[in-house]
Subunit: 284 residues, 2 copies
């Protein structure tokens, strides 16, 4: 496995592969790799001649009050995991090279970026769209893999790729969970033991929503109320948002019909966690 830190070097490596006719699969990450990332990497390896994983904690998707500085970084461990999975290139650029001053160019996906996580994290998805657009220029993938845990991110990236006719296919892989149901996240390592126990409530609340819809409950606000009540029972938990939205355009739904995305963000102590599920009304 080759580790590349220089942007031009990565462009050249990608171009060389493309010239050979190899397909390039790409898994963009912020590192601190966990089983969720590995599921993407495995799928990528299976479906492409050449696999590139990027590890880059992207400063422009964090607001000043957020956890950019303390976000877990462990390139050596990540490199070991990538090597073990048969990754061809680990691309880990440096922030000051990704964003040389004065950096001026931003990609914005309007109408999808200001709801859900975008509401509590202003500018977050502009940072995400910009870095992914840039990584796509550098890595030139045929297929790029994202996790369903970041559902809104996946929808925004898909829309960006469609709108700008980027020659890359986006694949979104299912959420990987701990045994007790907690969605895998690099931020889970912020949790202390009791918070870790409380954190399972995100999944429990989603299950509650699933059950409600299974019982033909279609009133979104009633479902959200009961989810909120469940979460509030945990001392360390504080709801950031709970939303039930159209799973394509992310518009809030009053009545569930067909497919809907139930998404939530919850503070567990000082750690903000997200999770989501898709619910389907069977006999609409």
């Amino acid at each position: 496995m080759r580790i590349i830190r220089n942007i031009k070097e990565m462009v050249q490596a990608a171009q060389k592969r493309r010239l050979k006719g190899d397909s390039i699969g790409f898994v963009p990450t912020m590192g601190a790799l966990h089983a969720g990332h590995l599921s993407l990497i495995r799928r990528c390896r299976k479906e492409n001649d050449f696999t590139v994983v990027s590890v880059f904690v992207n400063p422009i998707q964090f607001s000043p009050r957020e956890d950019y500085r303390k976000y877990p970084r462990n390139l050596i461990q990540d490199a070991r995991a990538c090597q073990k999975e048969g990754v061809d290139i680990l691309f880990s650029p440096v922030a000051k090279n990704m964003y040389p001053k004065p950096f001026r160019t931003f990609v914005e996906v309007e109408g999808l970026s200001d709801t859900l996580c975008g509401h509590s994290r202003a500018g977050h998805f502009r940072g995400v769209a910009t870095v992914v657009a840039k990584l796509f220029q550098i890595v030139q993938p045929d297929i790029a893999y994202f996790g369903q845990k970041d559902a809104q991110q996946a929808i925004i990236i898909r829309k960006m790729v469609e709108d700008l006719s980027m020659p890359v296919q986006i694949k979104v892989m299912p959420i990987v969970r701990e045994k007790d149901g907690l969605a895998m996240s690099s931020r889970n390592q912020y949790l202390n033991a009791s918070e870790r126990k409380d954190a399972v409530v995100l999944r429990q609340a989603l299950n509650l929503a699933k059950d409600s819809v299974r019982r033909q409950e279609t009133d979104a606000s009633r479902i959200i109320r009961s989810m909120r009540a469940l979460i509030q029972k945990k001392k360390s938990a504080k709801v950031d948002y709970i939303s039930i939205v159209d799973f394509q355009n992310l518009k809030p739904l009053n009545k569930i019909k067909g497919k809907a995305l139930v998404a939530l963000a919850v503070w567990i102590g000082k750690t903000r966690l997200i999770d989501n599920t898709i619910v389907k009304l069977k006999y609409a």
Copy 2:
């Protein structure tokens, strides 16, 4: 020469060429091709294995009050000119395919887009950056050619390419002029005979600036005042703006030192024309 109107077809044609190892040169235009465009096409042909010219009048770079509808369109004539120049592909997509509804993704180059033409044409350069980013994804050029007449556009595109690490080289070619000095522009055909005569005043004003700097005049506002006075002598002329700015970051200069961009936009009757020149202070 192949004429392609379908986006996917263009992507495939480009990918096929790239696989062959051919270099792709690209000249993006809004059509109504004149000698200025042809100079770009000739340079492109000389420097690349494969030449793509796009003809697309880009709706999102026009404001509602501007001339999108009446902008000159003549694909048959443009195709004839491209064929004669040995262009390989003429790519002319349809607006509703370039911007399928709901179109949500925009590329913005901040800090360079709101001065000069961006001041009088709000949103213009966002539309330009977005369409060029999209065309680059579709055509996948090694080198793209732009005209110095749209100096601000060229600077913004260069910055976008740098910031997003787009694997394309930007080349900017000199302004091509009519015999009397009027810069070639598709919009010149809007002018009636007397307006056409008056239009030469843009170039005369730029020459006046050049002469002033040659005489060691460094006070930008004094130069601008004399340019304005010259232009106001023409009945049909009305200054939109005259600016002397840093030729890289487009910031207005009070004192000229080294290289500066002198740029202006002037209404000649109902036609808005632009022109510019670079001035150099010799013994700074």
